[in-house]
Symmetry: C2
Subunit: 328 residues, 2 copies
């Protein structure tokens, strides 16, 4: 990254949310903040000081010399490793809400989230299926997209948790166009890349001229045309198997994927447990680990902080590029 | 590989078919036979001596000191680089037919095929969509499977060139069982592996207990149960995105895939243009390049022989393991 003229954003301030306190969040935060980063940043842990202190003691890790903010009062006697609870759900949700507010008011430059448990936050009365929807609501965002990044790949999903047989009927030109648009805005803002955005075909060999499937012509191509009319540099729908070879070689800014496994098979293969989840389209910078609360191994000290480290790295990168842009 | 007691199979004899003479077959055969192989083998080129001589002259490559058998008479004046023709289709098909006969009668230990053009062989009156169906017919084989190998991955396709929206309705317990069975037989015979065969789920997260898709429970699991009853070591349907991380680490003998891109995205990403196509279930050993005739670059001298080299390596491996087994 180019050096900034001012010192203001040289060390971006990054809120890291605790996640569900019954999960591996506290452990991976402590491990991550005790590791080396290439770029400087100022972390702020949003969650609960008692939870962090208890985890530091349990995992025999030093408490990092950073600000730790309590998102709400919590009775830590009610928290148990791997146990679903309203108390845990409330702390998880309030941590996200506070971090988002701090990002909206520029008290922090980005937020990085540890995993939450859907059932726990719903038990606590927060009616959202996950982080993304909660953040969209808090920031009044309609058009957003989930991007996963790892290695040389950045993948954006048009459909997510959906049966394969339902994918075709759930695709629409508008949905695909919206993902291309959100991706293009974010890639220009936070990555400053001139590479084209690649668009996956739905069918093998991109349907081979309609021989097996016509969604390429009927649904995807019109979305590409619309984006091109607005000056967005985007490919026609390409056969996904060969596309990812080029994408992995660094040819594309990002890849728009029609279904979950089309994106996640190559991403996981390339990123080896170091994938980062980035929500595009929000007015704030938000990155996340690409895994869940891992209740099955919570409290055991064996959780891997790799994805959180990469999520923090991505947030630092995005915040720095954004600061540079605002300065120029 | 362990050393054989007898000398008989120490250098397996391998038929290499020319492919469509208007394509890149002759070029990649000459390049491959002028490269170094780790294991010794005795190649026999099946096709046309005049075509090989012409290519050697054009690409300035030495004619390797190996047997070259004419599969049929051919008027080479009618052959033109990149041009679809009946003459080319006839030579391509007759080369495959002759090599298959030689493999059936043990004159060769394996056959490796360069790419043919479907339209050309059909112009010449051979009513088959490709190599696999032609070989199945010649060897009277009902149950066969297409396996692609590269890096640490071996993938077997249950459905191939099919629109994504049609995949679910085309899957059946019987089809999946048949692929598992053919794969298990071949893996034991030619690779002597004890690793389990992995089976991909169709839906993301393997359907997450029926939340998005039930083909895992309704169609795939019964095929797995049937295979297990016969003593085959095979996994339950696993989420494809995480499965390929383990597969790439060498955990599985092979991966049964429900649709084309589920197999080809990871394979191409890992194999970088060095994938090998292996037909399982035939009474003979047949491997192939994983690319087409490349009419667009035929005659230009820029074709990459990587996939053919790997196809020959795979054939040597399979023939040697098979010989060792027959000897013991």
């Amino acid at each position: 990254l180019p050096k900034l003229e001012s010192d203001k954003f040289m060390t971006p301030k990054i809120a890291i949310t605790l996640g569900d306190p019954a999960g591996i969040g506290s452990e991976i935060i402590l491990k991550a903040l005790n590791s080396q980063f290439d770029l400087a940043f100022e972390p702020v842990i949003i969650g609960s000081k008692p939870v962090i202190e208890k985890a530091a003691s349990q995992f025999d890790l030093p408490i990092p010399d950073v600000e730790i903010i309590d998102a709400c009062e919590v009775d830590i006697r009610q928290l148990e490793w791997g146990k679903l609870s309203e108390e845990a759900g409330k702390l998880a949700a309030e941590s996200v809400i506070l971090a988002a507010k701090m990002a909206m008011t520029n008290e922090v430059d980005a937020m990085v989230t540890a995993p939450i448990n859907k059932e726990a936050i719903q038990l606590a009365g927060y009616d959202f299926p996950g982080h993304t929807e909660l953040l969209a609501d808090l920031t009044n965002t309609q058009n957003f997209a989930m991007m996963l990044a790892g290695g040389n790949l950045k993948v954006i999903l048009v459909t997510t948790h959906l049966a394969i047989k339902a994918v075709s009927q759930q695709l629409s030109t508008k949905k695909i166009y919206n993902k291309i648009k959100v991706a293009d805005d974010a890639l220009k803002k936070y990555w400053k890349t001139d590479n084209p955005i690649a668009v996956c075909a739905l069918n093998p060999h991109a349907g081979e001229h309609g021989l097996f499937g016509s969604e390429e012509t009927d649904i995807i191509e019109p979305a590409v045309e619309q984006a091109r009319k607005e000056g967005i540099n985007v490919t026609s729908p390409l056969a996904a198997d060969t596309l990812f070879v080029s994408a992995n070689a660094g040819k594309y800014a990002a890849v728009i994927c029609m279904y979950h496994d089309q994106a996640l098979i190559p991403l996981k293969l390339v990123a080896f447990g170091k994938g980062v989840n980035i929500t595009l389209g929000l007015p704030i910078i938000r990155t996340s680990v690409d895994h869940g609360t891992a209740f099955d191994i919570a409290g055991k000290g064996i959780a891997d902080e790799g994805s959180l480290v990469e999520a923090i790295n991505a947030a630092i990168h995005m915040a720095t590029v954004n600061a540079l842009k605002n300065e120029n």
